[in-house]
């Protein structure tokens, strides 16, 4: 039971990092990315590759993963500079599908559907972090750090710049904001921080494959953010906890047939999404009215 809770808590931390970083661009810069799982994946694969071939040290693997994800995120920034709203959703969807194809096909790096196996445990100051409690601490630490970083950024002038662009790009321009730089920067930061979650995930499971980084994950992350409350500080965390706990509840309902639990969980998800959007479109933490966006 304890093991089960630890596992759940660790996964919640990892997903919360992803939700927070997604909210950073979605809620504040108005960039609705459906490709967040790709950067999660890039972080995970990079960390795994690095750990298998160079060193499992967290202080090396995580920065490397961040840098790689940040560099690749420029591909996402490209359409973000060109289009907004639903067009960008489409572009990011495209990137997501493309990412999955590459993850599945670049077998020498990602192992394809078979994945990367045998990832060594993370190494922190020479100690292998393999104990579940220790790993939970590590994940929680990263979560706190990410929250602090994003918060600091959002309260700063950079955060205001992001919101200004979200509200009126042309006015931001007219007041001397270099929209291209700001957007690119926000995408880069968000992706780099998402890569932290990826690295943690790879070390935690010891195995990663393309299934974790598919469209479903991006959709789930987006649901976490929106259900929690787009553009709010705690919304993404609340959304993550809710969406991660919901399924576990069902596994404790012994009367449900084993093979249908997955489907029932999913239906519960879907229903929660629909009902929340009808009755609380601003998200659980949001203002009740819709928080943001044109």
């Amino acid at each position: 039971m304890l093991a089960y809770l630890l596992n759940l808590a660790t996964l919640i931390c990892i997903n919360a990092v992803l939700a927070i970083t997604l909210n950073f661009i979605m809620g504040y810069a108005g960039i609705f990315s459906m490709a967040h799982a790709v950067f999660f994946g890039v972080g995970a694969y990079t960390a795994a590759y690095f750990a298998l071939n160079v060193s499992a040290s967290l202080f090396l693997a995580i920065p490397v993963a961040m840098v790689v994800a940040a560099a690749l995120s420029l591909v996402l920034a490209l359409p973000a500079l060109r289009v907004r709203g639903e067009y960008f959703v489409a572009a990011s969807l495209g990137l997501q599908v493309l990412g999955v194809t590459i993850f599945a096909e670049w077998k020498s790096f990602t192992g394809g559907l078979g994945g990367v196996i045998g990832i060594p445990p993370a190494d922190l100051f020479g100690h292998a972090v393999s104990d579940p409690v220790a790993f939970l601490m590590l994940a929680a630490g990263c979560l706190v750090l990410v929250i602090l970083i994003t918060n600091a950024l959002l309260r700063s002038s950079f955060g205001r710049n992001l919101k200004a662009i979200r509200d009126s790009e042309s006015a931001a321009h007219a007041f001397g904001k270099n929209v291209a730089v700001i957007k690119t920067l926000s995408v880069v930061i968000s992706s780099a921080l998402a890569a932290v979650a990826g690295a943690l995930y790879a070390f935690y499971l010891g195995f990663i494959n393309v299934e974790s980084f598919m469209l479903d994950t991006s959709v789930l992350l987006m649901a976490m953010v929106i259900i929690g409350g787009t553009g709010t500080l705690m919304g993404p965390v609340v959304g993550t906890v809710l969406l991660m706990l919901l399924p576990s509840l069902f596994s404790y309902m012994w009367f449900l047939p084993q093979t249908e639990i997955g489907a029932i969980q999913q239906i519960a998800y879907g229903t929660a999404m629909v009902l929340l959007m009808i009755f609380r479109p601003g998200g659980l933490v949001g203002s009740g009215k819709n928080g943001v966006v044109k």
Partner: protein
């Protein structure tokens, strides 16, 4: 010969994509509802047909009618019961999107629970190919698919051109509140759109069930294709969506000349991505950047 064969396959697949995409494009273009559950409409129509025709063994015409009814009802009810309440308190574009995603997930899993998560197909003699020329095989379904696409698209165009509804729909997409000032009912227009758009998914659903089979997750692919075609064609342009659907079907098949089928979805989306970066307004759309 391979090229020709793939081209023909491409046209068949493209015709189906065009039909699906036009439905989505119509809905999205005029209501701005990111109707992710359009894929579910497809699933519902397809499974309804599969169940009635293959399992319950009713006459095919009856099965088609029932599938149509199911699809249209689903689309309209979804609009009324889910989208309308959200829009009433000015839900943002993404609020509706998430709700739509939720519906998609529900339908996929319900269908999975009822019909099994496995793969089912409708077997008909029509899927057996005929050798047109030595080495060139075409199944009667291809012909039907192309015919359907032409007929439905033509009828839709005629409807939109001949009636004022077409103009109303364009206006609806821009400012539903203003529509009311003009004395029209956005809800009625919206119902018409959802009924029409859902209807357009039916032939594609039935033909897919017969030619390549079904599983509860097909909605995903259907949705991705519709979205890609809508954007590539230019939002608001049905002609664009139809052409783009055709283009995507063809490029997917022609890519098989050189690449494995695991690249087909990627090829579709590379086309999409390039369009967005290089020509965001699509084939026929208007410029929309920033």
């Amino acid at each position: 010969m391979l090229l020709l064969q793939l081209l023909i396959n491409g046209v068949q697949v493209g015709a189906l994509y065009a039909l699906i995409a036009v439905g989505f494009s119509l809905i999205f273009g005029s209501t701005k509802v990111f109707h992710f559950a359009h894929g579910s409409t497809f699933t519902i129509a397809a499974y309804a047909f599969y169940y009635l025709y293959s399992v319950a063994q009713v006459h095919w015409l009856l099965a088609v009618l029932a599938a149509t009814l199911a699809a249209v009802l689903f689309g309209v009810l979804l609009d009324r019961l889910v989208y309308a309440p959200i829009q009433r308190h000015e839900g943002s574009f993404f609020t509706v999107f998430v709700a739509s995603l939720g519906v998609g997930i529900i339908v996929q899993n319900l269908v999975g629970m009822i019909f099994g998560r496995g793969f089912v197909s409708v077997s008909t003699p029509l899927s057996r190919s005929i050798e047109l020329f030595p080495g060139l095989y075409v199944s009667p379904l291809s012909g039907i698919a192309i015919l359907c696409a032409v007929v439905f698209f033509g009828a839709l165009q005629l409807f939109l051109m001949r009636t004022h509804v077409g103009m109303g729909l364009r206006a609806l997409s821009e400012n539903p509140e203003l529509i009311r000032v003009y004395g029209l009912s956005p809800r009625r227009l919206s119902t018409i759109v959802f009924a029409l758009g859902s209807l357009l998914a039916v032939p594609a659903a039935i033909l897919s069930a017969a030619s390549s089979g079904l599983n509860p997750a097909v909605a995903h692919h259907v949705m991705l294709i519709s979205l890609a075609a809508t954007i590539v064609g230019g939002v608001g342009s049905l002609r664009g969506a139809a052409c783009a659907g055709l283009l995507l079907g063809m490029s997917e098949n022609l890519a098989l000349m050189y690449l494995g089928p695991q690249w087909s979805e990627a090829v579709t989306f590379i086309v999409l991505f390039l369009f967005i970066v290089l020509r965001p307004s699509g084939f026929f759309g208007r410029a929309i950047s920033t």
